[in-house]
Symmetry: D2
Subunit: 135 residues, 4 copies
């Protein structure tokens, strides 16, 4: 069992809002995507063609910040507000989509963009699945 | 001129997406709201009636994270994506509304909740105004 | 191979500063600790004895922020500065130590504090090991 | 009175650790530096000579993350730990020094680097002053 799952099991209140496994997966994909995007932005600026990757750097940084905020909000149950979580999952899905679109353009030439695009795709899927479960 | 405004003026590309003054104001309100919510959560848990402020602590922390992400995304112009920014401004408006609703319940007894509710109200207004200007 | 390891392998520059496996482990422990501390703070405020866990909430939030910053700085190689990384690893070790000390006090009664203390212990160890390898 | 000062005044516990005005100033400089560095990194990658600014982008992002963590930790009083705060202020001083050194190299050609270097210099000073007051 991962620490994400262990912490959710140990939460003292009821967990009524989400399916436990879907929530754990979404937190893990958000956390992973945030780290991958942070590393991809840094790898892009170290490439010889950094100037052509400017948009990719900026979108990766945006994606890192929104996925991080989403991971943190989903890690808290006490102040749960369905409208807030739904709006944030939509924003997270959008930014993962934007980062996926940008990174896959460079995936042939840059392995870090390929790995990052894949992390964004999985994260967007997990967000949409969780979003669909909000009544 | 604040540093937020100075940095925006010094951006090398065109700033086509937003009215400059509205963007500066929104960044400043997001940055301020993030700090205020961080401090309010900490003040709430130090109150003798902390157990009754549990939801307020959690919502303040959510608001701090989303306003921070919004401030950062709005501070970047290079990877601008209208759909991402619109979705995030909506999420930011929602979480500021939720935090305002919670904090003003305690504003009579806790000055930090009164100041925080006011910061959330101003931030939500700035987000909605900026959102309305996206074509 | 985790995405953290894959991204590090795909970095276009040389990775001279650290042993690759130690760096990957440290990033992973920081990322995990940040999420665990975020969840532990939220679980603490939802406990009936929240008022007695006030210090634990605040220290967990501090630990979440510093481990996050450390994970991000370690995810970037391009602007590596030995003094910055060393100072941040020391701060990360300190805050994990403080959070471990606080959480283990409550570990008998609160499973989330037990899991969190363990995550902090592992993260502090990874930080100290990486710190020792900086020339 | 700024919201930073108002929130500190409203804190329910005693504020024994710091001079109030020095603490307010340090939080404000950290918050401002974090925003300025975020914007400077984005402006750098949009410059035609982005490839030569690679190190500047990365150091600005590091500085944004550490100053943000410092602002958040200083915004919380409840879990105050002198060793944690001292270690983090040292890390913040180091990263502001590194970012100042890098940005001022480009200050002649890039106004955003000039503004950013100045924000880093003020933030480092505020951190050192606060650090000196810790017994």
């Amino acid at each position: 069992m991962t620490d994400v799952a262990a912490m959710l099991l140990a939460y003292p209140g009821k967990l009524e809002h989400f399916d436990r496994d879907e929530l754990v997966l979404c937190v893990q994909e958000c956390v992973n995507c945030a780290q991958t995007c942070t590393a991809c932005a840094d790898a892009c600026i170290a490439e010889p063609d950094a100037a052509e990757l400017a948009r990719c750097v900026s979108v990766c940084l945006d994606c890192a910040d929104v996925t991080l905020a989403t991971a943190r909000i989903l890690s808290r149950q006490t102040g749960y507000d369905a409208k807030v979580v739904a709006a944030l999952l939509r924003a997270c899905d959008e930014v993962c989509r934007a980062c996926y679109d940008e990174c896959r353009k460079h995936a042939m030439h840059h392995e870090h963009c390929r790995v990052c695009a894949e992390a964004c795709r999985r994260c967007a899927n997990a967000c949409r699945k969780l979003l669909a479960s909000i009544p």
